[in-house]
Amino acid sequence: MSHNSMPLTTSERLSGRLLAAVAVATAIFLVAPILAIVPLAFSDGEFLVYPIRGYSLKWMEAFFSSEKWAMAVKNSFFIGSLSAALATVLGTMAAIGLSRTDFLGKNVLTGFVLSPLVVPIVIYAVGLYFFFAPLGLTQSYTGIVLAHAALGAPFVVVTVSASLSGFDHNLMRAAASLGASPLLAFRRVMLPLVLPGVVTGALFAFAASFDEVVTVLFLAAPEQRTIPREMFSGLRESLSPIIAAASAVMIVIAVLLLAAVELLKRRAQRMRATA
């Protein structure tokens, strides 16, 4: 704030406190449901309910020793990595194409590329089901990876476009004049400079796949179930605290992803400062 050393009036001080109070309340509103599930992971009861009578690590142990959950973790990482990789390649190419020039229909195309962000996911999933069924892509890893890649690509487009907005396209001309083919110029000049945006986008794409359940509900066979999908059926069938354990694990992974994004943002800022 730029109040510096100016003395505040009473009303300014009051409104400042009000603002702080609202901010704290909003933060609690956002975070409390997430945190509410964590203590249950360490409950020694048999059901997913408060109050907690005693604490133990048995549900954590159960989570990590269960074959079903191990499968789900493996599936989540497998599908998440593949779809993030695909989304990153496609999203980066789309962002470059969209940043290059003005052409007819550019806005329409941009909206089209970003549409998975706004289309209701259940509609997307139903559509995918009917689209994939005749192609034999339902009940397959390929189908889920493709579905998640499309959901993750818009994040990559957004983050890479942001990096590209500060990119001097003269550098690509300079590289070409020095003898670099377009592909080489991309690899040696553009990619290193927009890399923070690319990696951030990849992390977001991974996160988008990691917590996605609706398309998995429609497309996955039992052996392709991911963590959220397992939690979903767990909630319907047993309501055991093992779901809380799975949640705790997912929260830890999400926090790690966020931390990585934050680190990258700092790095990008440093790079921009020196560019």
Binding site: N170, R173, A174, A176, G179, S181, R188, L193
Partner: protein, 377 residues
């Protein structure tokens, strides 16, 4: 390095040089209807320093970009020797390029920047190291190999950009206002360096600027652009002393302009009645037998005081201001409703008093008459 003095005079040196690049009927439009380059023919000679000079938006950069391959001509063909360039992508043209904003790769060290074109060409490590070192010596920056571009001053960055553009030994180098971002002193210094690199390496340079002093001092030939056409292509001296049309006359160097109508014309000589009511005898450059005319006189050719004796046409005006420029005086004279400027070497000028009446005139060969329609841009 060859000393500049040992070179033969510029004109005779390049007049007979073989052609390196030919623009053949080149037209360019970005939007489909306005042509920013119009049916342009241009021959660039091997080893020359050719400057494209002209007002903003006249198509200089566009021409350079078409030669570099970053823009495609709408029609016509550019030839590099016997090779048509239209199907050749920029990275296969082997043309060096220096940009106004330097365009150094910010994530690479200076040495890596300069090594880039050599790596791309698959040279070995030892050869690259050797050439990078020589290139840095050439631009007199031997100590900065490990720094990043953002740790250098503007002048240093531009010298690195120059080293990078020259290290792969292109025969042709394009520069688009390379000194535009530098302050005056540094710019003059770099002009000299670029000029001496051009001579010592035998480069062909195509240089874009809208600084006419820079164009006059650096070039073997200058092409004056206006509205997508070349208005005159000549060596600096011919361009300054014998501009082919009114635009060139007013764009290159300073000038006084008297508008009027042609009274009579006899071969190279025309009599013009100025709007102020004076009849001037002028050298007919670009006018017909009748109609309007713009008479253009360089300030250094305007004579004042005793020097007007014996001149055919003498005009009387009033001294408005006398500005001291060290080596010369600029005398501003109000006459015929115009501000006429006369430049007098300080050593032989008796400074006229401000407010006094003054007589001035010029030789009729120094008064050049042009078509006013081709004078304004």
């Amino acid at each position: 390095m060859k000393a500049p003095k040992n070179l033969p005079t510029r004109q005779s040196d390049f007049a007979t040089a073989p052609t390196l690049v030919t623009f053949e009927k080149i037209s360019k439009t970005y939007d489909g209807h306005t042509h920013v380059v119009k049916n342009l023919d241009l021959e660039i000679r091997r080893g020359e320093f050719l400057t494209l000079l002209g007002p903003s938006g006249s198509g200089k950069t566009t021409c350079l970009m078409m030669l570099a391959g970053f823009e495609v001509p709408t029609s016509g063909e550019i030839w590099h020797g016997e090779v048509p360039l239209s199907r050749k992508p920029p990275h296969e043209r082997g043309i060096g390029m220096v940009f106004q904003n330097y365009a150094l790769f910010p994530h690479m060290s200076i040495a890596e920047n300069i090594a880039f074109p050599l790596e791309v060409r698959g040279l070995g490590r030892a050869a690259i190291a050797e050439k990078v070192k020589r290139a840095l010596d050439m631009v007199r920056l031997p100590q900065i190999a490990d720094r990043r571009p953002n740790q250098l001053s503007g002048g240093q960055q531009q010298r690195v950009a120059l080293a990078r553009a020259l290290v792969f030994e292109p025969e042709l180098v394009l520069m688009d206002e390379p000194l535009g971002a530098l302050d005056k002193q540094l710019r003059e210094h770099m002009q000299y360096e670029i000029r001496s690199l051009h001579m010592s390496l035998g480069l062909t340079v195509v240089y874009v600027t809208h600084d006419q002093t820079e164009a006059l001092t650096m070039s073997d030939r200058i092409a004056v652009f206006a509205g997508g056409r070349i208005r005159q292509l000549a060596d600096p001296r011919a361009l300054y002393e014998e501009p082919a049309d009114g635009l060139v006359a007013t764009f290159v160097g300073e000038s006084n302009r008297f508008d009027g109508t042609i009274v009579s014309r006899d071969g190279d000589t025309a009599v013009i009645a100025t709007r102020g009511g004076t009849r001037l005898e002028a050298f007919a450059v670009d006018i017909g037998a009748t109609g309007p005319a713009a008479v253009i006189v360089r300030p250094e050719n305007v004579r004042i005081g005793a020097a007007v004796d014996g001149l055919r046409d003498v005009i009387t005006g009033r001294v408005v201001d006398v500005v001291y420029h060290g080596d010369h005086l600029q005398v501003h004279i109000a006459a015929e409703g115009l501000d006429v400027v006369a430049k007098q070497p300080t050593r032989d000028a008796e400074a006229p008093t401000v407010g006094s009446e003054i007589r001035f005139g010029f030789l009729s060969r120094h008064a050049r008459a042009y078509d006013p329609a081709r004078t304004d841009h």
